[in-house]
Symmetry: C2
Subunit: 179 residues, 2 copies
């Protein structure tokens, strides 16, 4: 029974992530239950309120971004690893519209998530700065605020990627290659 | 009488701009009337609704930004002129909090203002690109979206200035001088 419950929980979460990415924070709970292959009662048992489901999705996505940062922390090009990760953070915010506002400035629940992102990103930044790929006067909070800013002002993954790349590369001089 | 009415209008607008910069879009209309040295009836005659006052302030500030762009369009350093103007746009958004959301994505009334900013900024961008101070693949809509993004994610003029400067300069290499 416990394994069944865990599988239901994971399936609901996966369906919720996909549906929220499509429809934002007011996604249909009925559709999420249907996509997950469970009844509304089961969804309700795991997530008594819409808010509890949103928080679980948010937390899960932030854990995903942190796992990605750990993966990238052994990449051969630390400057590019940092840039790739920041693009993923911006795209995440832009494509989970209803959650974008909460990614950095939200209820107490989000401050844990903020700390996780600052830690994970801070490590990538330190490596990039050691390799002299990034200016020494840049702080991880600036970079996450920038990713959040881009999320708030864009509505698609393509726009978010393009705009964050511009912010990372700067606008001066000839076109830079992707970093 | 007409000159009096015009003076009252200008004084109300100036008081409203100052008060909205301090308190946001729900600034006290009574305080605005008092600061302007007019009665509530006079304020109401010129601006029948809060919305009409907000739109007038918004339009006036956008005209100010456009006038500033024309001024900067004869500056000796076109790259710096563009960067200075974008910083002013970002600071404007960050410090007129309630209006920030409307600066680019608002009701029909704002689309005129958007066109004005695109025109004024486009001219500065063309000069900066002719002088090879800015990459040829950058569009003015990208730059205004960036300024808007920074406005949405920051709450003070200092933060907005710092973050937009970072986006303009990019994060790679050694610290660049102010442009």
């Amino acid at each position: 029974v416990r394994a069944d419950a865990r599988r239901n929980y994971d399936q609901i979460l996966a369906a919720a992530e996909a549906e929220i990415a499509r429809s934002g924070a007011d996604a249909s709970l009925e559709k999420i239950a249907r996509d997950a292959g469970v009844g509304s009662a089961t969804l309700h048992r795991h997530f008594p309120s819409r808010q509890s489901l949103l928080e679980a999705v948010f937390h899960d996505r932030v854990e995903g971004l942190c796992a990605r940062a750990r993966e990238l922390s052994t990449a051969a090009d630390p400057g590019r690893a940092l840039a790739d990760w920041l693009r993923e953070v911006a795209v995440y915010g832009a494509t989970t519209r209803g959650l974008a506002e909460s990614i950095l400035y939200a209820a107490p629940a989000a401050s844990d998530c903020e700390a996780m992102l600052l830690d994970a990103g801070g490590e990538l930044l330190r490596r990039a700065q050691s390799a002299e790929a990034v200016r020494p006067d840049v702080a991880i909070l600036d970079l996450l605020t920038m990713a959040n800013a881009v999320s708030l002002a864009t509505r698609s993954a393509d726009d978010a990627t393009r705009l964050l790349t511009l912010a990372i590369e700067g606008i001066s001089g000839p076109p830079a290659g992707r970093r």
